[in-house]
């Protein structure tokens, strides 16, 4: 069973029913994969969905539906992750948001993080996390 971390990029892909994101959700459904969603990615995605004119209720339904899956775990930004995120940001010179999301994936044992962010690619190059995009 694979565990994947979701950056905001993946969540936006999913909202838009992009084919690969949809396939990943199908993998989650069959139990082949589990998904980890970091709280900072929830905040970022919510803001973007609001900017796109989506009503709060619709966005809230999206999160509730993801939460209702036993194979999807929302991970709060707790102290260990926050401190690790700060360290990664400092050490590798990446923005704090990227570092917090990557740290969440790392500390929750994700096999890969779904992201197309160029700074995530830097962290992948430095072998901090494995990054997948399409």
């Amino acid at each position: 069973m694979m565990i994947y971390g979701a950056d905001s990029w993946f969540l936006l892909c999913l909202w838009n029913k992009e084919a690969t994101a949809q396939r990943m959700l199908e993998e989650v459904q069959t139990g082949k994969s589990h998904l980890v969603i970091p709280y900072p990615a929830v905040a970022e995605t919510t803001k973007k969905l609001m900017q796109q004119g989506n009503p709060a209720e619709r966005i809230s339904t999206f999160w509730s539906m993801l939460e209702s899956s036993k194979k999807i775990r929302f991970v709060p930004l707790e102290k260990t992750i926050a401190v690790e995120g700060a360290r990664v940001s400092m050490t590798h010179g990446v923005p704090l948001m990227d570092a917090l999301i990557a740290a969440t994936a790392k500390l929750t044992g994700c096999h890969a993080l779904f992201s197309s962010d160029s700074d995530m690619a830097v962290l992948a190059k430095k072998k901090y996390v494995t990054v997948k995009s399409w």
Binding site: S8, W9, L12, C13, L14, W15, N16, K17, E18, Q22, L25, E26, V28, Q29, T30, E44, K48, Q51, Q52, G53, N54, R58, T61, F62, M65, L66, S68, S69, K70, K71, G93, V94, P95, L96, M97, D98, S116, D117, S118, D119
Partner: protein, 91 residues
């Protein structure tokens, strides 16, 4: 979740057992992925025909995909580029 492929109409003769039991042909069970313990609704039509319908509880992931059919789409690549720019401003 899998897309159903086009199906042809299927007709077969089945025999009722002593307690009114009828066995669904294997071809149909395999095709529809019916398993022991699956529940069905049986409806009698006005003309007397019987209609069998499998009761399915959708998974949370299926419900999510149904929900996503109803939401307006946008240029998510552009949206993520904006997120990336915002992240970089806070570097």
């Amino acid at each position: 979740m899998k897309k159903r492929r086009e199906k042809i109409m299927f007709t077969d003769v089945v025999k009722m057992g002593k307690k009114g039991q009828i066995t669904l042909p294997k071809l149909v069970r395999d095709e529809e992925n019916y398993r022991d313990g699956d529940e069905f609704t049986l409806s009698q039509m006005p003309g007397g025909d019987l209609m069998l319908h499998k009761i399915t509880e959708k998974t949370p992931e299926e419900k999510l995909l149904d929900f996503l059919e109803t939401v307006p789409k946008f240029d998510w690549r552009k949206a993520f580029r904006e997120i990336e720019e915002e992240r970089n401003r806070e570097r």
